[in-house]
């Protein structure tokens, strides 16, 4: 299975750039890396997906090194509303889609 490891929690301040790193040492050739955001009592929301190098959209950037064994989600100039749980997913494969425990990001004023 595509196992991922993320920090359990992170704190940051409004206006700062936040980087959350995910480790996925057993990533396979066909695997994509996807990040989701989840607020309490809501379903997860897709943030960004990438395969290699760098991907940027209107809300985040995703940096993937050449060996693809890790990835970093970058949130520019966070606000209080970015307080949420962030999940890194790798795959899908083995007929399963795996969410880990995620990273609880807490933004302070």
């Amino acid at each position: 299975l595509a196992k991922t490891t993320q920090p359990i929690s992170m704190d940051s301040y409004e206006g700062q750039e936040v980087n959350i790193t995910c480790s996925h040492n057993n990533i396979a050739t066909n695997d994509y890396i996807t990040w989701y955001q989840q607020f309490p009592s809501q379903g997860p929301r897709f943030i960004i997906q990438g395969y290699k190098t760098k991907v940027t959209n209107e809300v985040a950037s995703l940096f993937i090194p050449a060996d693809r064994k890790s990835s970093t989600l970058s949130l520019p100039r966070v606000s209080l509303s970015d307080t949420a749980v962030y999940y890194c997913l790798v795959g899908p494969r083995d007929d399963k889609i795996i969410f880990g425990k995620g990273t609880r990001l807490h933004i302070l004023p």
């Binding site: 009592s41 379903g43 997860p44 007929d95 425990k101």
Partner: protein, 118 residues
């Protein structure tokens, strides 16, 4: 446009009972996936259906079953409820099967059904 809808929003059952949860995907989406999320944990994959066929199954007992209808809506059934089945049940839809190999397959999640088993 309407997003993914789920019903009911909340449900209370007792041990041993059976429950049916419903999901309507985004219009045009042919894939529906079901997840169980226990408090404090990430969503756990239960099933994926694409074009009315089961395409993937997570590590859940046979008490859990699902089906997808011709209009692509889906039902999740759980029999012989246990206390440990108490969770938020999430439905996600996508335009393609997540195993299509097409690259970006974004899943859109509904608000979930909160099931409490007493």
């Amino acid at each position: 446009d309407a997003g993914v809808t789920q019903s009911p929003t909340h449900l209370i059952k007792t041990r041993g009972q059976q429950v049916t949860l419903r999901c309507s995907p985004i219009s045009g989406h042919k894939s529906v996936s079901w997840y169980q999320q226990v408090l404090g944990q990430g969503p756990q994959f239960i099933f994926q259906y694409y074009e009315k066929e089961e395409r993937g199954r997570g590590n859940f007992p046979d008490r859990f079953s699902a089906r997808q209808f011709p209009n692509y809506s889906s039902e999740l059934n759980v029999n012989a409820l246990l206390l440990g089945d108490s969770a938020l049940y999430l439905c996600a839809s996508s335009s393609l099967s997540v195993w299509s190999g097409a690259g970006r397959v974004e899943q859109f999640f509904g608000p979930g059904t909160r099931l409490t088993v007493l």
